[in-house]
Symmetry: C2
Subunit: 256 residues, 2 copies
């Protein structure tokens, strides 16, 4: 069983070797730019680790894992645009629209999203693509609530904006490992905890969200509680979940 | 066999009755706004008419037809944004970003694209969703060439930007009618002509593209030639293609 770092290298290699639809031509550069820059690849690693823990082959989960990273990257490219968060930097580099212009960044985001769904459609069964599409819709809905500062609980906002894609990372790993739908619920209960864990830690690092609402200690408490529940869910599974447990600990201890 | 107008009403009804993913919540208004305003629904009608001509039921092609209109609408919403064409009006109304703000229009476009692929995934087989994703990538690639004013022949640009989605309208109609892949090529040869026909007429109406390059008469000639070839392709099919022929004539005679 491979640890998170080794699975991360598998993801990087797959991203390097990824070929895009030939019609995209010149958009490939901006798309690769957005995918680069040293992202943490948490979602794809989670997907691969889930597949291995569920007695599948990580290699079979690679298209799904890459698709998750493409959706995540699409969301960053669009959210960074002046019309939304107006962020000029991403991972210490100029964000996509600063490097390539707003119009090209917009199209690159569209193409990343569409390529992601095309990749998820490389599986015989349609479930991975459906799950990815639904998670993406949840994420977009969450971003809408965030942008419009809708009167909604932080937890509900995060469940959509961050949680859906984390949950889908687990779900897609299960489909890739051929876990029947009837056996998936206990795994999915684990996946449901991860978005909140990620987001609460993120808020501590950035000093917003939960850290604003509950103070830094309060936000750390939310994260610790989510990590505890995630481990509890893992313990309930009849499987070797060592690597998934390491991912939980890595998420909880994250400082950047 | 139903004519284009009756099929158009079927499309309007399906769009009216379309339900979006519940997580989208408030985005539904802007999405419906973008879908409204009296679009011509040419692509979905073409999809339904293809299904009927190929001995299928138009009703079975409705999800595919609606998915095509969602992709088309997504492309209009994003292309109208200031970062791309910066169009304030669409179908005689304020365009989506003028009515709802740039950020919301961006997200509404993302959601329309994702919902389209989710709809195409309502078919048992994955081919409709794959074909729609590939056509969308071609369309995005075409828009990129257009925006960057790449040194590319007008015909190649249009083949991507307009042609791919028209061809997919025929392709999705064939999948919905259960036409086996091996029987599809002569139908697809018909679909290949329609994008050029549509675009050449569009250029005459707008006074750009072919009309700039070849003069109005020249552009009319390109359209007439494409219409002639489209009829020729229909004549080669062993099927009642009356309605498809009417669609060709309608496209050729279009003045708005």
């Amino acid at each position: 069983m491979r640890g998170p770092d080794e699975l991360g290298r598998l993801v990087e290699r797959a991203l390097d070797e990824l070929t895009f639809h030939p019609a995209l031509a010149g958009l490939e550069g901006p798309m690769r730019y957005a995918l680069g820059g040293g992202g943490k690849r948490i979602r794809p690693v989670l997907c691969l680790a889930t597949a291995e823990a569920a007695d599948g082959r990580a290699e079979d989960a690679v298209p799904a894992a890459v698709a998750l990273e493409l959706v995540h990257t699409f969301s960053l490219v669009h959210d960074d645009l002046p019309a939304l968060d107006d962020d000029d930097e991403r991972r210490g580099r100029p964000s996509a629209h600063v490097a390539h212009g707003e119009g090209v960044a917009l199209l690159a985001g569209d193409a990343l999203l569409t390529e992601a769904l095309r990749l998820a459609l490389s599986y015989e069964r349609r479930e991975p693509a459906r799950e990815l599409a639904e998670a993406t819709l949840g994420m977009i809905g969450g971003q809408y609530l965030d942008v419009t500062r809708a009167d909604v609980a932080l937890e509900d906002l995060h469940r959509l904006k961050t949680g859906r894609l984390f949950a889908a990372a687990v779900g897609l790993g299960l489909w890739a490992a051929d876990v029947p739908a009837s056996d998936q619920p206990p795994w999915r209960a684990f996946g449901e905890e991860l978005g909140l864990l990620f987001q609460a830690v993120d808020d501590v690092i950035d000093g917003d969200g939960y850290a604003l609402e509950l103070g830094e200690e309060g936000a750390r408490g939310v994260a610790a509680e989510a990590a505890r529940r995630a481990h509890e869910r893992l313990d309930a599974l009849d499987a070797d979940t060592t690597v998934l447990g390491q991912i939980v600990d890595g998420l909880a201890a994250r400082t950047v």
